[in-house]
């Protein structure tokens, strides 16, 4: 039995779209699938919908489990469920896998209907803007004109922010968590090292590794290890692993010795078996490209002028990848536009990963904010 605070057993659904989608790059996807899950009940006037946008390695499986014996629930199960901060007794919550993903939505590993082969290197780069467009089409197909809330952490927060600019009339509340208005050079640099690890793996085959019945495991593994380091804080790594040795003594070799090495390699290996390398490349590029001021060249305040939603912006003190200063840039731009916004800087030692953790103050804030959201 799943606990009462779980949405229980969930079943993903697939929506097929046949209206071509012109991407920001100019490429066109003639048709595509989006896989999604929903929790809770959509009310009669379809006004209680919440869209949860996922981050770099996320997907549509936000909450619940696929089978009773399933040990691992969805990635934001501590946030979404009956009686949880995002209360599925009140709201109809949608999680989807973004275009270009590797969990069921059309992506690089999908079969290109024209060639009958996986898209691989031919899959176009998609951007946050493209995702929002595809998400809007999914909302249309479900008859949802306006979301009560659109929310996300990290890259997911960027999508929520873009929704508020692109479709202001379709978002009542926007929760932007551990995010940034655009990446810094340092952030892009980390992403590029991760990409280089994949791109230079001999098993990558220019992105068409599917035909060679292999996958660039070493590259993906390195990319994930690097990512993991940047998602944690120095403090949390220190307290979790310190300098602890697996065997208690130096072996004077290059095998796993320190616990942190063991942890990172395990995480890297797990990821390399389950995640698609092309999707990883594409998602990091979407992060790099996102910049609401890119076209206007002006200030973030100008870019956010269209926004009408109420905002809750949250950051975490030890998050150095999406630091509180970056969230404050968003807050400042919203203040400049006299938007209704609240901002909290949550004390946490967990670094960027903190947005996925069940911190009591963090969850209380989301819960308290959700009280003002009409279902």
């Amino acid at each position: 039995m799943q606990p009462a605070s779980s949405v229980g057993i969930v079943v993903p659904q697939t929506a097929h779209f046949t209206t071509p989608l012109t991407l920001k790059s100019g490429a066109v996807l003639p048709s595509y699938d989006l896989v999604y899950e929903t929790y809770g009940m959509l009310n009669a006037d379809k006004s209680n919908a919440i869209l949860v946008c996922h981050a770099l390695s996320g997907n549509h499986h936000v909450a619940g489990v696929y089978a009773e014996q399933d040990k691992k629930p969805g990635w934001w199960d501590n946030m979404v469920g009956p009686g949880k901060p995002i209360d599925t007794d009140r709201f109809f919550v949608i999680g989807l896998n973004n275009l270009g993903g590797c969990h069921g939505s059309t992506g690089p590993a999908s079969i290109d209907p024209i060639t009958g082969q996986p898209f691989g290197s031919h899959f176009p780069l998609v951007t946050v803007e493209d995702w929002v467009e595809s998400q809007a089409r999914l909302a249309d197909s479900l008859g949802i004109r306006q979301f009560a809330v659109i929310m996300g952490g990290s890259l997911g927060g960027m999508q929520a922010l873009h929704w508020s600019i692109k479709h202001p009339e379709r978002v009542r509340h926007c929760l932007v968590i551990a995010s940034a208005p655009k990446l810094t050079a340092q952030n892009i640099a980390f992403n590029d090292v991760a990409r280089q690890a994949i791109l230079t793996d001999p098993d990558f085959h220019g992105g068409d590794f599917y035909a060679h019945d292999t996958r660039p495991r070493r590259g993906l593994r390195l990319a994930r290890m690097l990512g993991h380091i940047t998602y944690l804080s120095d403090d949390v790594m220190g307290s979790k692993f310190g300098r602890v040795l697996r065997s208690g003594a130096f072996n004077y070799g290059y095998d796993v010795e320190f616990e942190i090495e063991s942890y990172l390699r395990y995480q890297g290996d797990k990821f390399a078996e389950s995640f698609d390398a092309n999707t990883y490349l594409l998602m990091t590029k979407a992060l790099d490209y996102f910049d609401p001021t890119h076209h206007s060249g002006g200030k973030l305040s100008d870019a956010l002028k269209p926004a009408q939603a109420d905002f809750l912006v949250l950051s975490f003190t030890s998050d150095w990848r999406f630091a509180p200063e970056r969230s404050r840039e968003i807050v400042k731009a919203l203040l400049d536009n006299e938007c209704r916004v609240s901002y909290a800087e949550i004390t946490s030692g967990h670094g960027h990963d903190a947005f996925l953790m069940p911190d009591a103050h963090y969850h209380s804030l989301v819960r308290a904010y959700m009280e003002r959201v009409a279902s």
């Binding site: 203040l335 609240s342 901002y343 209380s364």
Partner: protein, 194 residues
């Protein structure tokens, strides 16, 4: 329960004004101004507990350390900038007062008057004052810059501020005679001098 200075402050806030409440606590004053004066605006707070209380109270609340200034707010973006019962706990007193009149047209400040006779009496008797408006022992007080009304007015002169109005009260009742002696709580509104 509304604090004694709320009514006075509300009477100075024109309906529909844009208000910034610095050190807004749980947001009670801002909520009061929203409800009674249809004010719009933001509260600024530092502590987690008050941020949560403010969100529960339905106000817009920003977590920010006042000691580091108000750089998230553009110049001239508010009608009223309020610092209610917070000035005495600030380290950078002059800086925050200047910031108030940078981001707003008018500043409103409330503070416990150290010149109140009961405070003076306690000092005369050899003790740090403890009262309704200064409810702390010397060793646990957040207050670092207590002042009398005379002191505050002298600082306004130094900063080139023009005091538009002041209301002095004791236990919620207005005080008109010998305010710096008879008044426990001082409420001022001020603007940039001409």
């Amino acid at each position: 329960m509304t604090r004694h200075d709320f009514q006075t402050i509300a009477s100075w806030v024109k309906p529909g004004s844009k208000v910034l409440d610095l050190g807004c606590g749980d947001g009670s004053l801002l909520k009061f101004l929203q409800d009674t004066r249809q004010a719009r605006g933001y509260g600024v707070e530092l502590t987690d507990a008050n941020i949560l209380a403010g969100v529960k109270n339905g106000i817009n609340i920003i977590q920010n350390d006042l000691e580091s200034g108000l750089s998230v707010f553009e110049s001239g973006s508010f009608d009223h900038v309020i610092l209610s019962q917070t000035l005495q706990a600030m380290r950078h007193t002059e800086a925050i007062l200047r910031e108030m009149l940078r981001v707003g047209r008018e500043g409103i400040v409330t503070f416990p008057n150290f010149g109140y006779w009961k405070n003076r009496l306690q000092v005369l008797r050899g003790h740090m004052p403890v009262s309704d408006d200064i409810p702390y022992q010397w060793y646990d007080t957040p207050n670092v810059h207590l002042c009398t009304m005379h002191d505050f007015e002298a600082l306004c002169v130094k900063l080139g501020f023009h005091i538009r109005e002041r209301v002095v009260m004791t236990a919620g009742a207005p005080v008109h005679i010998l305010p710096n002696l008879a008044g426990s709580l001082a409420v001022y509104r001020f603007e940039r001098g001409q």
